[in-house]
């Protein structure tokens, strides 16, 4: 009972983070809830193996990502998306940069544009981006959670950010306010 209570106490602060990540990955509220529930059950069963002193949040995210990759995607029969960052040569490295003023104007008109841009990313890239940027996991923790080398985490993250910047820059241009400043 003590362990169960301790588990519940430890898990509750991370509920929103897990749900957010699950929602970004599955795209549906009900599927996200199912994925989080599955994560919690697996985490509870494996709680005895959790190493005290290590990062509990990262451990939960490892279980969530495994559940997503192994179970959810199999069940949903989603095709595996080729990780083009690892195979496609980078022909165009120009990355637009926003000024803080541009972002302020962008934020006012962004609406669901950020979510849509994020949802268009390949799942592997989206997952790395969400874990790093929204959940603040380190590259090492993401690498452990996904079972991929740190270099792969970095390349996926780089690609995800470049795509997002370009998409948001396109949107800003359509809105007519973005003063382009590219970086090579």
């Amino acid at each position: 009972m003590e362990t169960q209570q301790e588990f519940a106490d430890r898990v509750k602060p991370h509920l929103d983070s897990l749900y957010r990540t699950a929602l970004r990955m599955t795209g549906e509220k009900s599927s996200a809830e199912d994925l989080v529930q599955e994560t919690f059950l697996k985490a509870f069963r494996g709680f005895g193996q959790f190493e005290p002193g290590s990062n509990f949040k990262a451990w939960l995210f490892t279980i969530l990502t495994h559940a997503y990759i192994n179970d959810y995607r199999k069940r949903s029969r989603s095709p595996l998306v080729t990780d083009f960052a690892e195979v496609e040569p980078e022909g165009n490295d120009e990355t637009p940069h926003f000024s803080a003023e541009d972002v302020e104007r962008l934020a006012d008109r962004l609406g669901d544009q950020a979510k849509r841009a994020l949802d268009r990313l390949p799942p592997e890239h989206r997952l790395v981006f969400v874990l790093s940027t929204f959940e603040d996991l380190s590259y090492k923790e993401i690498s452990a959670a996904l079972g991929v080398p740190i270099g792969t985490v970095m390349s996926r993250l780089f690609r995800a950010r470049a795509v997002l910047r370009r998409e948001l820059a396109d949107f800003a241009r359509q809105e007519g306010f973005f003063q382009e400043k590219s970086d090579r």
């Binding site: 209570q5 919690f40 069963r45 302020e104 962004l110 940027t133 380190s138 993250l157």
Partner: protein, 261 residues
């Protein structure tokens, strides 16, 4: 460091993934180069906008209850609503107190006493709020009224309350005693430990993310003036220990005792 190097390192810098020397080089460049500082500010704002636009959903209210009803957790229902309300009240109180504390830390007006730790300690003794284990789970007061531990109470507190490794420091060799500790679950600041000595000086220690520690501009302002700050690698990936002192002489004494330049 050149501009193109700074730009190449910017994401790693913002992710807290650079080594301390690399971090310092980027930081130095950002402080000197206005165009690169502009790119950094834009990138920071863009991340914040993306988080606000796509990363702030909260779990549905019923999810915790659904999780509690799962087969593996059947025998371990989450606390009753009444208890949960008390816990959330406690969290709200913690948030309010922390806000007050951080306000003191960053913007204490000139008429306030300069010693943050003593200020907190005095307020606690007057009101019995703040650093008080009797009232809050995530906060430890070491005054005789609240504390029953005699050996390493701060270490035991963190071990019991925090789901991952944080740090506290033994500063008795400098004449400082811990007077309280707090666990803060926000990602930028993991824990806060406050010390004071017989002469009325204070040290406020926080374990913060390296990217916050390396943020350009003054980190800690008290009495409207920047406080002497000493940073140390924490040994925890991506985190840095920040010590805030009342005076430069105390900071120097600390550096010498720890062999820091």
């Amino acid at each position: 460091m050149k501009c193109h190097e700074s730009k190449r390192h910017l994401d790693l810098f913002m992710d807290g993934e650079l080594s301390v020397p690399e971090n310092l080089k980027v930081l130095e460049h950002l402080n000197l180069c206005r165009p690169c500082a502009g790119i950094y500010e834009g990138e920071k704002a863009l991340r914040a906008a993306l988080c606000a636009g796509a990363g702030r959903e909260t779990a549905p209210a019923g999810l915790a209850e659904r999780l509690a009803g799962g087969p593996a957790l059947e025998a371990a229902p989450l606390p009753t609503i009444g208890r949960r309300r008390r816990r959330w009240s406690s969290v709200a109180a913690a948030a309010v107190f922390l806000l007050v504390m951080l306000t003191l830390l960053f913007t204490t007006p000139a008429e306030m006493p300069k010693a943050l730790a003593n200020e907190i300690s005095e307020k606690h003794i007057q009101s019995h709020e703040g650093f008080c284990g009797a009232h809050r789970d995530d906060c430890l007061c070491l005054c005789a009224r609240c504390n029953t531990e005699t050996v390493n109470p701060v270490g035991k507190f963190f071990q019991r309350r925090v789901p991952y490794e944080v740090c506290s420091h033994e500063l008795k060799d400098l004449g400082y005693e811990a007077i309280g500790a707090e666990f803060w679950s926000r990602k930028e600041l993991v824990c806060l430990t406050v010390y004071h000595n017989a002469a009325g000086n204070s040290i406020t220690h926080g374990l913060v993310t390296t990217k916050i520690a390396m943020e350009p501009g003054p980190l800690f302002v008290c009495d409207g003036a920047e406080r002497p700050v000493v940073m140390m690698p924490s040994g925890k990936h991506g985190m840095t220990c920040v010590f805030v002192f009342d005076s430069e002489s105390e900071a120097t004494r600390f550096r010498m005792a720890r062999d820091l330049k």
